[in-house]
Structures are given as C-alpha cells and as structure tokens.
C-alpha cells in the first residue's frame, strides 16, 4: 500500500450555525464553529486534533462525515468530494469512514444486544447472510479484546472501558480506511485509558487505518499521533509533526496549552496562565482570535487576522510573531 497518499483532504471547510432571535425572529449572526479549516490525512496516519471545549473540533469531525452539513469548503476523500454527495452515495462512503464517540453509553442502543448493534452496521452495508454476519461479529469482538459470548449481552452489562471496545468493534466492522475518534478515552479511568489507546495503536498497524483523533488531552494526543493540529475558536492555529509541536511550538496558544498540563515529571518552563476563557464564537475578537488571551500580543494582532504560514518542514502556524 502506498502510505504517502493523501487519504482525506479538507479545504477551507466552514460550518456556520445561524442564530436568530428577538423581534420577528431575525437572523442575528452566525456561530462560526468551523471557520476555514484546511488539512490532510495520509493513508495509515493519525492526525491529532486538539483544543479546548467549544473550539469546533467535534463539529469539524462530524462535518467531515456529513453528520453536520458543511456551509462551505471541500472534503475530498480519495477523489470524491464528500460535501457534494447525495444521501445514497454518502451511505457507501460511510463504510469507509467511521466514527467513534466519546460516550459509549449513549452511542449504543440500550435495547439491542451488542451482537445486534455490530451486526446492524454490517447489514446496512450489505452483508445479508446471517451466518456470515454472526461470524464477523465474533471476529470483531475478539479483535478488540472481548469474547464471542458478549454478543448476546446488552450495553448496561459492560463497564465503560468495555463499551468503548464495543464502539471500536462496531466502527471496524465495515472495514473502514479512516476512523474519526471523537474524545474516545476522555471518559475513562487512566488504567483503562491506556488499554484503549494501546488497542487503537495496534488496530492502526494491523489494518493500516488512518485516524482523525480528537481530544483535549495533549499527552494522549502525543501518544497516538504522527501530526497534530491545534484549534482555537474554529481555526487551526498550528499544525506540525507530533514530536516537534510539543517541543518547538511556535504559537503562544500551543505554548500555553503545553505549559498547562499538570505533570508528575519536573516542569521545564514556568507555567503560562491564560486569563479568562475562550470567547464566544458568535462574536469572535477581530484580528487574531487569540489576541484577547495572548501573553505576547502586539498592536497588529487586534487588527489583522494572521494566515497559516509554512515555517518549513510542514510546520504551519498562524501568528504575527512570525511575519505577516
């Protein structure tokens, strides 16, 4: 397999939610959840997407498989633009791109056995033979570290770690190329979190899967990703190789995120405490969206919006500190 091919290419993707209210229910503005995001994922690669709550990372993940309709932009998977597909074509595509959610409790139907839940995914995607389906379900369960007999049980009979394994099994059932994992371990205890991360790493190798791994925990992102994108208020502010971004970060926001991680190891640099919280995406600050909280802010930052610039070696950053 050619591992250097771009599997997914997102170009200038936007997702706005109109807000209306007041007298006569007028259109008041847009919540710009995702506002002009571009990146690519290579075959078999994991791109980590990190940011605080409300930065648009989940919306971005959901928009890629059209659980949300994009407002503008292209989502090119292999040669097709996902943004232009009709319902029927989309169904075929979702076999190739699957999603794993944060909360396995609410993403599994409580009235279906695990076997039915996983089998349903296979049925929808055209595996009509019941015996074969049963066999596939067993294979998948065993592959994620559960047992064949678990297929007859209901979601409430499992622990949260096991439920996340089931979510992964269901995603794997259609033999996808790309998995969008939306905070897959943030609801789990540390010892279980490590088990699930290891499982996801193993599966990536075994099936040469690509992941878009969405998380707010930087150390988790570091563990699983080859490249990492940092998002702030609907935009990517920095993107680089995982080894590089946490060591030689350029954007002040990335710097603050890295310094904020509580660590049991010795801290190398002083912590940067960001004032306040993320501003409302309904009314983002002018210029650079981060300037209201930035510790290295300059006059230009509140006036001109910085573009993503390549600083060499594919290290992208959107910040005026590095020229206009």
């Amino acid at each position: 397999m050619m591992l250097n091919h771009k599997l997914l290419k997102v170009e200038n993707l936007k997702k706005y939610y109109p807000v209306s209210g007041g007298l006569l229910y007028r259109h008041l503005g847009n919540i710009k959840a995702v506002d002009g995001v571009s990146f690519y994922i290579k075959e078999g690669e994991t791109l980590g997407l990190v940011g605080e709550s409300g930065c648009g990372k989940s919306t971005l993940g959901r928009t890629i498989i059209r659980l949300e309709e994009p407002t503008a932009g292209k989502i090119i998977y292999r040669r097709t633009d996902i943004a232009k597909l009709d319902r029927k074509q989309l169904r075929g595509l979702r076999k190739e791109i699957q999603i794993i959610f944060q909360d396995p409790q609410s993403s599994l139907d409580p009235r279906m056995t695990i076997g039915q839940s996983i089998g349903e995914a296979l049925l929808i995607h055209g595996l009509k033979d019941e015996r074969k389906r049963g066999q596939m379900v067993t294979d998948m369960l065993e592959r994620v570290g559960l047992e064949a007999q678990h297929a007859l049980r209901y979601p409430h009979e499992f622990s949260s770690g096991q439920r996340q394994r089931i979510g992964i099994a269901r995603a794997l059932a259609t033999n996808p190329r790309l998995i969008i994992a939306d905070e897959p371990v943030s609801a789990l205890d540390v010892s279980i979190q490590a088990q699930i991360l290891n499982l996801m790493l193993d599966l990536r190798r075994e099936f040469s899967l690509a992941y878009l791994f969405i998380a707010h925990d930087l150390s988790v992102i570091r563990q699983v990703s080859q490249r990492v994108a940092v998002m702030y208020l609907g935009k990517i502010v920095e993107l680089a190789e995982a080894g590089e971004i946490f060591k030689d970060y350029l954007h002040p926001y990335t710097e603050a995120l890295v310094s904020a991680i509580p660590s049991i190891r010795k801290r190398r640099k002083a912590r940067i405490l960001l004032p306040g919280a993320v501003p409302s995406p309904l009314n983002p600050p002018p210029g650079c969206r981060f300037h209201t909280r930035c510790h290295r802010v300059m006059p230009i930052c509140s006036q001109v919006e910085p573009n993503l610039k390549d600083m060499g070696n594919g290290h992208l950053v959107a910040c005026h500190l590095y020229g206009v």
Binding site: E52, S53, S159, G161, Q162, D189, V190, S191, I192, Q193, A194, Q195, L197, N198, L201, H216, D217, L218, S219, V220, R222, Q223, A242, G243, F246, K247, A256, L257, V258, S259, A260, I261, P262, S263, I264, R265, R271, L273, L274, G276, A277, V278
Partner: protein, 321 residues
C-alpha cells in the same frame, strides 16, 4: 509539632442494596495535618467520594451507613455527632466543593444570593455585610468584575467561572478545612491550571487545610503534600507526595504512574493495568488488587496484606514487602 486537623480511623461505609452489601469504604485511615493538602487518589468507584461524604455526614441512609470507624475533627468524633452539630460544622468548619458545579448550584438563584445565604446561615451579619463579603470572595477566587457576576445566574457563567463561584461559596464562612471533590475534572486544561493556581494560593494565604480528591496524578504533584492511594474501598499506599511519585511501592500505584502518556517522549506502547476494578459486592479474596497485579503471589489470593512501613510516613499494603 504538627497538628492533625482531621483524623480518619478505620472508616467503614457500606451500602446495603438488594443485590448485597457494597463495601464502598472498607477500613480507611489517614491523618490530615493542619495547613497541608492531602490528596485522595484513585479510579472511579474506589471510594474516595464516599470517604468525603462520610466525613460530612452526607451518606444517604438507607441504603448507606457508616458501620465502623471514627472521624476526628478537632477532637470531636463526627460519626457520633448529632445531626444538628453536623449541620453547624458543615459549611462553617468544613466546606465541600463538588465536581459538577453546574448541578451543585441552584439554577433559580443568582450567584450572589447563594453565597449570601450560606453566610447568613452561619454568621450573624447584616444583609449588607453578607453582600460585601460575597463580592470579596468572588474577587479572591479571581472573578473579574465580581459585583456584576454576583447578579448572574449559574447558566450565564462559563464552566471555569462556575467552578470559581463554587469555591467562593465554599470559602464563605472561613472554613478550617476544605474538601474538594474532583474540582478540575470537568474543565479544560487552561482553566484547570487556573483552578489549581487558586487552590495553591488559598493554601498559602489562608493557611487552609485541604482534602483534595482526584484521579489525576499530575494534579497531585502540583498541589499535594500527602497522598493516599485508594483501590476498591481500601488504602493501597500512603506517602508524602514527592516520595510516592518518585518511589511508588504498590504495584497499583506504579501502574497508575506508568500508564500516563508522557508529552515529553514517544512511547511505543503505554503500560496498562489489565482488567477492571472488581465488584465491591463480591470482592476477590485476599488482596483486592491481585487479579490485576503483575506481581501477584500465592499469598495474595489468600491473605489481606498488612501495612508495611517503608520509610517515615510511607506505608504500603502489599505482600511484596
């Protein structure tokens, strides 16, 4: 001489359910030194929250009950105190901050009202003094324009601000001891750093004693003086924070430390602890951790491990030593 403000001795809190007796806390002991921060660490279901609720007499009965042990606060045994005495202590002497500020705050009262209510309940002060006090507290926890925020309802605040308001409420009657139950779990990293910073300052400026409950070892290293690691309702290991993180003795503690992803280096695989936390209705015999322990021996299945003193203040419950 160090003064102990809270001493928990062999605390046992059980829940009597239809399916059987859940031994949520089963023989937990620790001492909290005045002005220090003691961290209770463990995964979900290990009994750390139940321990905190037991201290404050907030265990729902039925089904729960403190079936044994003593909790000494200022030479009073809280387990034997009357409901009225406990009501006086709660909020005034010992305050608690909950994980989920959203559901701990009353949605139909303003932040200011809720803080003032608590002040007026415990201290005999006028309405105006109570209001001023509330505003000063909001300022102390780093809320910008506190006069304005006092008139807000909880839903108008962000998660980080709500958590600060909770802390302000906890501080409202100058408690001697503050119990914080996972106060940083539901917030973002940058906000988490701000909240930890507030606690650290409070410890300094108010010389307050803290019982800090968390599942994150990273936070413990930032704020803790003493650590008590709990597993399945029992204490696994207890030691000064730096010692425990550098020199963990219990296989569970070292497992917890090793399974943390590290931002400074790439690991091929994370070490993990196999299996899951056992059922507390039908716990395994012997050491409760033995089914998941990589270093389990024959004796671990049969006998419960006794406390072993490794060094001053460092005690581990494990047959290895």
């Amino acid at each position: 001489m160090k003064e102990v403000i809270l001493s928990v001795k062999d605390l046992k809190t059980y829940f009597f359910t239809k399916r059987g007796v859940v031994r949520a806390v089963d023989g937990v002991s620790f001492d909290l030194v005045k002005g220090e921060c003691l961290c209770l660490v463990g995964e979900s279901g290990c009994g750390k929250t139940v321990t905190a609720l037991s201290i404050l007499g907030l265990i729902d009965s039925p089904p729960g009950r403190i079936v044994g042990g003593e909790i000494f606060y200022d030479s009073t045994d809280l387990t034997k105190s009357s409901a009225e005495r406990l009501r006086h202590i709660r909020g005034k002497e010992i305050a608690m901050i909950f994980q989920d500020a959203q559901s701990a705050l009353n949605p139909v009262f303003t932040i200011g009202d809720q803080i003032e209510e608590q002040i007026k309940l415990h201290l005999k002060v006028s309405q105006r003094r109570a209001k001023n006090r509330a505003i000063n507290l909001l300022k102390e926890v780093g809320i910008p324009s506190p006069e304005e925020v006092a008139s807000y309802y909880p839903h108008q605040l962000s998660g980080g601000m709500r958590q600060r308001a909770m802390i302000a409420m906890g501080l409202s009657c100058d408690p001697q001891l503050l119990i914080a139950d996972e106060p940083t779990t539901a917030v973002d990293v940058t906000i988490k750093a701000q909240i930890i910073d507030i606690f650290r300052r409070l410890k300094e400026s108010r010389k307050m004693s803290l019982l800090f409950i968390t599942h994150e070892l990273g936070i413990v290293s930032e704020i803790g003086d003493e650590i008590v690691v709990m597993y399945a309702g029992k204490v696994a290991e207890t030691a000064p924070a730096a010692e425990l993180l550098k020199n963990p003795k219990h296989p569970y503690t070292s497992g917890l430390i090793k399974c943390l992803p590290d931002i400074t280096k790439e690991k091929e695989r994370l070490e993990s602890i196999p299996g899951t936390v056992p059922s507390l209705i039908d716990p395994p015999g012997g050491c409760l951790f033995h089914p998941r322990c990589k270093r389990a021996m024959a004796i671990c299945r049969k006998e419960e491990p006794p406390p072993v003193v490794i060094s001053r203040g460092h005690t581990v419950f494990c047959h290895l030593y």
